[in-house]
Amino acid sequence: MEHSKTANRIMFALLVFAAAVFLFPIFVVLMNSFKNKFSISQTPFVLPNGDTFAGITNYTTGVADTGFFSAFGWSLFITVFSVLAIVVFTSMTAWYIVRVKSVFTSIFYYALVFSMIVPFQMVMFTMSKTANTLGLDNPIGIILIYLGFGAGLSTFMFTGFIKSVPVQIEEAATIDGCNPAQTYWRIVFPILKPTAITVAILNTMWIWNDYLLPYLVIGHDYKTIPIAVQYLKGGYGSVDMGAMMAMLVLAIIPVVIFYLSCQKYIIKGVASGAVKG
């Protein structure tokens, strides 16, 4: 017993060290966002002092240059509605695929699973071209793109879960006079809720941070946060390191808030998402 106590102490020390290593980069960025732009790249590990302290000017110039608030708005809009669409439609599709066994549903299912391993570069040009031809290159149209591109993993996870749901409950509801749509929303979807949360979280993490897809599809008219950050690099003829640091901080804040407030679901979601995969 004594032995394991010292082991735990050593481990605790190790964990504290590891945690410090993990937090350090974020701390450095935060610190540098308050320094003037010429004191950043060469001495990033020095705390701001009287000479180098820049107050919040980096934030004000950064926000103005990148149109950060509109980028935040677009990111939020696209993420929320795409995730909603994915959860609603892929769960319904998954249920249909499990309950209706036909050649078509199994082909569709395998096509969806297949899409999971295809790298984005394979379709980057043709997809943005198709989106443009169909007039989907706007923040609403891109929701459909995300539904299509995210359908693989999400449907796969839902079907995995639905297979374990006994069909008897649904049959009982049908006898009570429910049509399949009612049965689905009253009986099945509530059972799927844990998986739905998992799917929602995995997709939120993906869509919120996605760069290349929105850049190619809508990037020149509507900038999401990652696009705005990348555009800082060459879009204005010079790289303002101060504004860059401030934007990095602003890009991290919503993520941290989202994480801390839904931590329980996120960690559970990631864990159970993996087990089913």
Binding site: S115, M122, M127, L212, Y259
Partner: protein
């Protein structure tokens, strides 16, 4: 059940099907077709057979170089991420004080996007190297390890969560029994814990391998391939071939097809291999 549901095809399947066809199926097939053509927009595509595939290798060795760079990167980071994540998972399943807090901290970087991650690490790495008169683009080795560190920072927390779930699923009876039998911690680890978390290993390997191969955003932000495209991973090479050079769209598309095949083969092999291990244990 099936019959009644079948009539509701339009409601249940059609939206997903339409989106899938538009966003994936059509672009995928078009992509395969275009890789055999020379084109700038789509309408002017001219069939050229395998010319693009040949050009991808004969023109210069960038594709092979970036592929090899990606493979090296994937090997190193898959190994380090999984070992470190598993070690953290072991430590965080012993009931040490502050376990939840640690878990929160380790997972957080995973939520930060690739572009942002790239710039964060560019600042840190350049800051360190600056003291020795270097920058991350001075030498491709710096870029390589920069990418590995970044990837570790991003993925360790994620994999750790999965391993924790796996370890917690092991029934305490088995562990107790092992203890009674006088098994030391090493034998417990290798005889009991690791075999029972094989499903987690499968999924973690799958996720880290595919993510390492597909890495794009952090690569673009951290080094953008500098110096001399020597830290350019395949995804970035394809992007650059496609968009930065006129007349090379077909070659870029051909590279993308080959990239897809490589990723698919590796992912399937890995799944087949580790699943087999799961069954054995």
């Amino acid at each position: 059940m099936g019959k009644a549901v079948k009539k509701y095809f339009a409601l249940f399947v059609l939206p997903t099907l339409i989106a899938f066809v538009i966003a994936f199926a059509v672009p995928f097939l078009m992509g395969v077709y275009l890789s055999f053509t020379e084109f700038r927009t789509v309408s002017d595509a001219q069939f050229v057979g395998f010319a693009n595939y040949i050009k991808a290798f004969s023109e210069n060795n960038e594709f092979l170089f970036s592929l090899w760079f990606t493979v090296k990167f994937a090997v190193v980071s898959v190994f380090s991420i999984n070992v470190l994540a598993f070690a953290l998972a072991l430590m965080l399943t012993r009931g040490i004080k502050g376990t939840n807090l640690f878990r929160t901290v380790f997972f957080m970087p995973n939520l930060i996007g690739g572009i942002v991650l790239g710039y964060i690490w560019q600042l840190i790495i350049n800051g360190v190297l600056y003291k020795y008169g270097y920058s991350i683009t001075s030498n491709p080795t710096f870029g390589f390890w920069g990418l590995v560190i970044l990837m570790n920072w991003q993925m360790i927390g994620y994999m750790m969560i999965i391993y924790i779930a796996g370890i917690q699923n092991i029934s305490t009876d088995i562990l107790e029994a092992a203890k009674v039998d006088g098994a030391n911690s090493f034998t417990t680890l290798f005889r009991i814990i690791i075999p029972s978390v094989m499903p987690s290993v499968t999924i973690c390997l799958f996720l880290t391998i595919t993510n390492s191969f597909k890495m794009f955003d952090p690569n673009l932000a951290l080094t953008a391939g500098a110096p001399s495209k020597q830290t350019q991973m395949v995804a970035l090479d394809i992007y650059n071939t496609f968009y930065s050079r006129s007349g090379y769209e077909g070659v870029g598309q051909a590279k993308a097809v080959m990239f897809f095949l490589v990723v698919a083969v590796i992912a399937l092999l890995q799944l087949w291999f580790t699943r087999r291990k799961e069954v054995e244990s």
